[in-house]
Amino acid sequence: MALRLPRIGTSQVAALVLILAANWMVSPQFFDIRMQDGRLFGSLIDVLNRGAPVALLSLGMVLVIAMRGIDLSVGAVMAICGAIAASLADSHSLPVVLAAALGAGLACGLWNGLLVAVLGIQPIVATLILMVAGRGIAQLITEGRIVTFTSPELAFLGSGSVLGLPTPVVLTLGMLALTLLVVRGTALGLMIEATGGNPRASALAGVGTRVITVAVYMWSGLCAALAGIVAAADILGADANNAGLWLELDAILAVVIGGTSLFGGRFSVILAVVGALIIQAMNTGILLSGFPPETNLVVKALVVLAVLLAQSPRLGGFLAGLGVLFGRRP
């Protein structure tokens, strides 16, 4: 494995700035922000608000990936938890709704964690089980329909605002702070990085790798549950067929863009969120640009390729070489 000196995330932040600048070029009102009915309104706010579900997923995914794992089930867990929240919203109080949905997310994470840590199933296979079955479970809960609700408390979590910021953004910031507190305020971060970097060495050094593995999958399940609640609250209904569909891939991409290696080890929670914002800034930019929708995926692929290439140490060296070459010329 290549050894890297600690990262500072320059390339990710630069990529985000470049994409925002590109958005501003295709859509001059991109940075306009005004108050609308007591909440901030503008494309930049949309990027934050729409990026919230993937950002939430990436908060769990980054820890799982740092442990050399992967969680393919997060999209399906979103669907399950969204379905639970929407089904209970009009008949139960918000704390009950949240407890049920978040509890379901934790249970899903526990299932994944046990398969990986205790039965030793490869993470990609273990979580694939729930990825496939989970959507079916969600469809059973909703009976294949879009379950709508009217509870204003739950709706507030999707489309309300706190101090002008959309609630999903505030929830994401809160979850980011909580994640940072959990991994960096305790020694969990060090243990995750050690286990991801060298599981055998860490186990021999007394790190409780199994417990930590189960814990990170549960955290991922919790983050997915919150993302599912936000997604359901946003459209005032649970769409079991489509909620969170393919978002696991966006979350993995966000983590990778954030510089965390799929081989585990060093991770950055904040840069994973920046990665999620990069993806959403790109999506919003495409929507604003007026390009025909057939080009969406191509544009997205090209931008992602550019961001990942910019992080490649080899290409970095090559570009630096070019810089020196051209810099020397009179």
Partner: protein, 506 residues
């Protein structure tokens, strides 16, 4: 500069700098036909940089290279191989899951109409290995064979690709004595065919056993080059270290017997089926127990049971007079045990984490995730042990993977010393590290022992074991076969115990 027909490969003025750090400074090197040429130096002396620049893995900054009088400049290892310079590394870089035959002919399989001719390939593989005195099932996966055989397969592959120069980078580091002899046989045979062999090693005995000529690097410069016969051991060590090895490592100091101390831990009929036969073992404060034996004799298996890395299936363990069950490393740590494993890279260090993080890992794990050491405490612990053990460079924030083997080993010792263990288990603490670090680590073992720590040390360096052990247990074929104490401990005695033929053997 010699200029005769016998010269196969000559390097002149090789230089290489990495980001301002000079790794090679105008090094000359000459290899003759049929010569086994030792390339020696401490870690960081420039051996691996010289090899990498020779084989095109790393581009050199300056220097010329002639093979059979023709100037060459390979730009990659593959190109160097095509030109006739092949390298076999310590960690054999073949595909362990492919068969031996597939590994031998990977990328150049005999084909007919585009299809690989499996049978033909196997036949040729068998012929090829027969030339090395190896008769094995070439259809079996490479990983099913010992490291020694894997090395011979790698060498056979290199030689079969019409190598004229063969570079062996620490091939003997993980081989036991018998395997080393087999490898030496192969090397002699290749040399007789006129192939020039560059042999990188840490084992001075092996240099004198097989090499014709020695070249020593120190701090990126050529320290000297001479035929083996003209370079006595003391001169060689002086050339490598730039100073004389402290006499302390060579002699067993007189010490008071400590056998009367109350045992810290006692194991009775402890063992695991298929791993190591039941054994008795008593560990006392201030007492060093050495485990000696060939590779695979059950040494590592013994210490893994003691540390709970594997679970014993029979026998009793007592610590401080209390019966205990040691089911995991965590439980062993709670009892005050520490364990530096033999496989430093795969079981010891976490390469991408910093020296500081590696040092505090075990202590932190014992405290639990919810009781984090503050950054200041971590810095203090790291600084203390970096100073105490003289870890270089003394930068706690450097990824440990970038340190030399000896310094990684010291950091691993620091990891356990930070937990203030009552029993420290060291598995091959001096393997693969340079001579200077050897002496320091042996000194450290003695100091720890004097402070009242119990030590259990596995080592194949018999000369070293005799200098620090109060008791030596000899293992053979996964069983403890002899126990030597006090004055009875000597290299010949240990060798005799290891070599003693089992009753039923021919």
């Amino acid at each position: 500069m010699p200029n005769d027909d016998s010269i196969l490969l000559s390097l002149t003025g090789f230089s290489k700098a990495f980001a301002g750090f000079v790794a090679l400074d105008h090094v000359d090197f000459t290899l003759r036909r049929g010569e086994i040429h030792a390339l020696l130096g401490e870690n960081g002396a420039g051996k691996s940089t010289l090899i990498k620049t020779m084989t095109g893995v790393v581009a050199r900054d300056a220097g010329t290279m002639r093979l059979d009088g023709v100037e060459i400049a390979p730009r990659s290892a593959a190109e160097a191989t095509r030109m006739g310079i092949a390298t076999v590394y310590q960690e054999v870089n073949l595909a362990p899951n492919l068969s031996v035959a597939q590994n031998l002919f990977l990328g150049r399989q005999p084909t007919r109409l585009g299809l690989v001719r499996e049978r033909e390939m196997r036949r040729r593989a068998e012929d090829l290995l027969a030339g090395f005195g190896l008769s094995i099932d070439v259809a079996a996966p490479l990983e099913s064979y010992s490291v020694a055989i894997q090395h011979i397969v790698a060498i056979a592959r290199a030689v079969d690709q019409s190598a004229r120069v063969l570079i062996l980078d620490e091939p003997t580091a993980s081989l036991d004595a018998h395997e080393v002899e087999v490898l030496f046989g192969v090397m002699r045979q290749l040399a007789a065919r006129g192939i020039g062999i560059v042999f990188v090693t840490h084992f001075l005995d092996q240099v004198y056993a097989i090499c014709d000529r020695i070249t020593v690097l120190r701090n990126g410069r050529l320290a000297g080059s001479a035929p083996v016969a003209e370079l006595p051991r003391l001169d060689l060590v002086r050339m490598m270290l730039g100073r004389e090895l402290s006499a302390a490592t060579a002699q067993r100091p007189p010490r008071a017997p400590a056998t009367d101390a109350a045992p810290l831990a006692a194991f009775e009929s402890f063992g695991k089926a298929g791993t190591v036969a039941p054994f008795d073992l008593t560990l006392r404060p201030g007492h060093v127990v050495g485990l000696a034996g060939l590779l695979g004799s059950g040494r590592t298996e013994t210490v893994r049971l003691v540390f709970g890395a594997d679970r014993a299936d029979c026998g009793r363990a007592e610590v401080g007079g209390q019966a205990v069950v040691i089911a995991s490393p965590r439980e062993a740590m709670r009892l005050g045990f520490g364990y530096c494993p033999e496989e430093r890279k795969t079981e010891g260090i976490v390469a991408e984490l910093t020296v500081r993080e590696n040092i505090v890992l075990a202590l932190q794990a014992r405290r639990g995730a919810m009781h984090p050491l503050s950054r200041r405490e971590q810095d203090e612990i790291a600084a203390k042990f970096i100073r105490l053990l003289d870890i270089r460079p003394p930068d706690p924030e450097r990824p440990i993977g970038l340190l030399s083997g000896g310094n990684q080993q010291k950091a691993l010792l620091a990891r356990w010393l930070a937990t203030a263990p009552r029993l420290l288990i060291l598995d091959e603490p001096t393997r693969g590290i340079d001579v200077g670090a050897h002496a320091e680590i042996i000194g450290l073992i003695r100091d720890l022992c004097a402070e009242g720590m119990a030590l259990l040390v596995v080592s194949s360096e018999l000369e070293e074991i005799v200098t620090y052990a109060d008791e030596v247990i000899v293992l053979r074929d996964r069983a403890h076969v002899a126990q030597l104490t006090g004055e009875a401990i000597s290299v010949p005695a240990i060798l005799a115990a290891i070599a003693e033929a089992p009753a039923d053997a021919a």
